[in-house]
Symmetry: C2
Subunit: 146 residues, 2 copies
DNA sequence: TGAAATTAGTTGCATAACTAACTATATGCC
DNA sequence: GGCATATAGTTAGTTATGCAACTAATTTCA
């Protein structure tokens, strides 16, 4: 087996097992310590709604890279916690617009501070050029496969 | 909010949502098309056993960056599919050694070919230096958080 | 206009993740 | 030796993911 190929397999295992898991665990832990009862997956949905409120579930699928059933159930759980509500679109009755509650709006600053703090810890010793390359590589990978 | 901080939050969402998900989905699809009934999580366990057979569950936790319950159930499922078997250690009765069956050994070449092929597709347009930087960044992130 | 195709969302099923609490074995130390 | 502590692994409960199959609403187009 050529050496080059094996290295690419290694990269795959690195992508999936290591860094993203470590960041996710740390952020989840920081949420818990701050008394926030949300998961990082729920946070990632709220994150996009803070940028633009009242998106359709399909639009949340696109922006969070999840499939429709995953979003359905994430929204179910967020709705149980009274952080979002589904509002039927007036122009297209198939569409639910997912809108933030006041409680969710109040969480924005704290959670984004915690996320920034987590990323700062994670990225000690990593410079801006390297971050830029990582983002470019991920974008290329995503574009290559979709 | 300083612009620099928000970019780090973006990076987090990129790390978790996009590239790794796309690679995982494509590899899973390629496994299915080749008639392989394993998940990528199961594959990642087999991958480490192909490199070194008969590891303890704890050692598999370390190498795959999973916790103990996750490994317990992954091994449960791999055992159901007769791809590994648990063998009690003779020197320490707390330890299960997880060993490959012949069926699993036969899968090695095909699955690694599929993984290499998937990574080659994913990494079109990405050069070796960039891959090296991604790996270094992930290692730094992991070390920073653990 | 009306049937076919598309789009938005939900539900069921299997696998996997994390936490917390648990059992069993081994090690440390007085 | 024997008790406290640490380590290996399992189980229970909740959340999340992917796929397939489904309903309901909308669009396309003959």
């Amino acid at each position: 087996m050529p050496n080059n190929q094996f290295k690419r397999g290694e990269l795959y295992s690195v992508i999936n097992g290591m860094a993203s898991t470590a960041v996710a665990r740390r952020l989840q832990k920081n949420f818990r310590q701050a008394g926030l009862e949300i998961t990082i997956e729920q946070w990632s949905v709220l994150y996009h709604l803070w940028k633009e409120d009242c998106l359709s579930q399909q639009e949340l699928c696109n922006r969070t890279f999840r499939d429709k059933p995953s979003i359905t159930r994430l929204i179910d759980n967020l709705e149980k916690q009274k952080l979002v509500k589904r509002i039927a679109s007036k122009t297209d009755r198939r569409i639910n617009l997912v809108c933030l509650t006041d409680a969710a709006k109040e969480m924005q600053n704290l959670t984004i501070d915690l996320a920034n703090q987590t990323m700062s810890e994670a990225l000690i010793g990593v410079n801006k050029d390297e971050i830029e390359i990582v983002k470019q590589v991920f974008q290329k990978v995503y574009d290559n496969l979709t």
